[in-house]
């Protein structure tokens, strides 16, 4: 989905004051702003606040007790592992794809860009399903894998694969427009002056795209740690083994252990808040860099 949902470059400095004639009357501005703020309060702030309210409902001790559970800790470990593998994998891919797409011209380029965005158009549930069809017991490689005693579905590799699929486009789509806008002049200059390809990449390209990369990594990581539908299909929900944090939240919730569920959920809510803060920070830094240039 070639969406504009998160693009570093779209951010511009806030609009300067409007000319008088095109300003809306004060009461209109107040009314619309109030409605907008109420909408944000009810639809966005309230759900976020309720996560913490529910998590601390039975006090701070009950909250921390929720983490004193080997299954919770193993869920946290698995979530971190899935992110630690899938984010760098998609980072390397994103940089390679952006290099090929923005520094060279070749036939089929726009098709390639569309295909990279494809995972965003696929329902997370279907993202899980496709790996079951390939690696599951009844799947293409199912019997071969079971003969060799390799488990992918209902095991950690399946979770990592599903996570990689749903976070696939994040880094690529962030830096492709950025590198497109920057062109190839600086790289040509470096090569002409005798730098090798890798030197050019590390010393010229990378410093130019560092904020875009950082931005993509933040978003990729948030999705990787929070993914639910895709990992739910491939996980098999084995407690202490194949549960990530979101899956553990579901299990606790379905057992009516609400404090435990919301306590685990609060970890992810904190991650979301950190993500939003870092995202705003990068946008601000990027603006600054652009203003100086």
């Amino acid at each position: 989905m070639a969406s504009t949902i998160s693009n570093l470059q779209r951010h511009r400095p806030p609009a300067t004051s409007q000319p008088k004639v095109t300003q809306d009357p004060v009461w209109v501005r107040w009314l619309l702003t109030t409605i907008a703020l109420l909408f944000v309060a009810f639809f966005l702030v309230l759900p976020l606040a309720s996560v913490f309210a529910e998590a601390f409902r039975r006090g701070i001790n009950a909250y921390f007790a929720a983490f004193n559970d080997p299954d919770a800790l193993s869920a946290i470990r698995l979530t971190l592992l899935a992110a630690v593998v899938s984010v760098p994998a998609n980072l390397v891919f994103g940089v390679a794809a952006a290099w090929a797409i923005t520094k060279f011209s070749f036939p089929g380029k726009s098709l390639l860009i569309t295909l990279i965005d494809l995972p965003f158009a696929v329902s997370p549930v279907i993202a899980g399903l496709i790996y079951v069809l390939v690696f599951g017991l009844q799947g293409w490689f199912g019997s071969w894998l079971s003969d060799h005693d390799i488990k992918i579905i209902f095991a950690t590799p399946g979770i990592i694969l599903a996570t990689t699929f749903v976070t696939f486009p994040f880094v690529a789509r962030e830096i492709i427009p950025l590198m497109q806008a920057q062109g190839t002049d600086e790289e040509y200059a470096a090569i002409t002056l005798g730098a090798s390809g890798w030197q050019t990449f590390w010393r010229v390209t990378l410093p130019n795209i560092k904020w875009g990369l950082f931005y993509g990594i933040i978003l990729c990581n948030a999705r990787a740690m929070g993914e639910f539908g895709a990992v739910s299909v491939v996980s098999g929900h084995i407690r202490g083994e194949t549960n990530t944090i979101p899956l553990h939240v579901e299990i606790l919730y379905n057992e009516y252990n609400f404090v435990g569920a919301f306590a685990m959920a609060s970890l992810l809510a904190v991650l979301a808040i950190i993500t939003l803060v870092l995202k705003s920070f990068i946008e601000w830094k990027f603006q600054q860099g652009r203003a100086e240039a």
């Binding site: 520094k103 011209s105 929070g226």
Partner: protein
């Protein structure tokens, strides 16, 4: 790969970067996706139709497409309002609100799901006031709508914001100078300018809602024929080891998503051309 050797670039790394890109794309995305379509080729046409058009599946399409459509409509209205206010009306805390718009994108769907359920259930912050009025949100169609509206909001706002930012002030000034009042200027000059972006935002929000699973399953109650969405039905079939049934429904959803993707790409092309004039 050297078949496609680039004509103009003297930069190194073309074969390596494109080769790796195509290899990784195929490995993670294309080959597994192809599995879905290949799996259905093993089915007879009758079986396929039976799997994708049984009454329970049809009911799931209705709720998934219907609720996604309504949610996208709600987001269209409030997303436009929010984008307009964020771009045009400076107020203290605007930056914070602007950052918060991305919350549905950053908050894991399962967390959103249980949070919304907590708020709208009988004893919840909002539910306790709605239940006496006879409005039930949790475990009804309305709950599905709530969840889908929540996750789709950023798409409309983020698509509109840059377009509103780039509206030429001269356009509005000219309209006012020629005697139009503010309302006429908005409905006849500004809104038509926003149409491509509005449609794009709507389509993105709709597409996202169609595939959504995590935020819906907690609040919907998952009653077959009433609040069961298509992604949930796929999971149910998988849990019953009905791989063919699950795959057949998945093919229908994938084709719908790809058509939407195509529409969105065309809309964005149109939008870009529209604004270059």
């Amino acid at each position: 790969m050297s078949l496609f050797q680039s004509r103009r670039s003297a930069l190194p790394g073309f074969n390596l970067s494109l080769g790796y890109t195509v290899f990784y794309l195929g490995l993670i995305v294309l080959v597994p996706l192809a599995a879905v379509f290949l799996k259905t080729t093993g089915m007879t046409w009758e079986h396929f139709v039976q799997a994708v058009a049984s009454p329970r599946v049809m009911a799931a399409y209705r709720i998934s497409f219907g609720a996604s459509f309504l949610a996208a409509l709600i987001n269209l209205v409030f997303g436009l309002l929010l984008a307009w206010v964020l771009v045009r009306y400076p107020f203290p805390g605007r930056k914070v609100i602007d950052a918060l718009v991305d919350l549905p994108f950053a908050l894991p769907t399962a967390v959103a799901g249980i949070a919304l359920t907590a708020i709208y259930s009988k004893n919840g912050w909002i539910g306790q006031y709605l239940e006496p009025l006879g409005i039930h949100v949790a475990f009804t169609e309305l709950g599905v709508l709530m969840a889908l509206t929540f996750i789709g909001l950023p798409f409309v706002v983020r698509t509109l914001q840059p377009v509103i930012e780039e509206l030429e002030p001269e356009l509005e000034e000219a309209s006012m100078t020629l005697g139009a009042n503010r309302w006429q200027t908005i409905t006849r000059v500004i809104l038509p300018e926003l149409v491509p972006a509005l449609l794009t935002g709507f389509a993105l929000s709709f597409a996202r809602a169609l595939g959504e699973y995590g935020s819906v399953v907690f609040i919907s109650g998952n009653m077959p024929m009433r609040t069961e969405i298509v992604p949930l039905l796929i999971i149910t079939k998988l849990e019953q080891y009905d791989y063919r049934g699950a795959t057949a429904i998945a093919v229908v959803m994938l084709v719908s998503s790809f058509v939407l993707l195509l529409v969105i790409n065309l809309l964005q092309k149109w939008s870009r051309r529209y604004h270059r004039i």
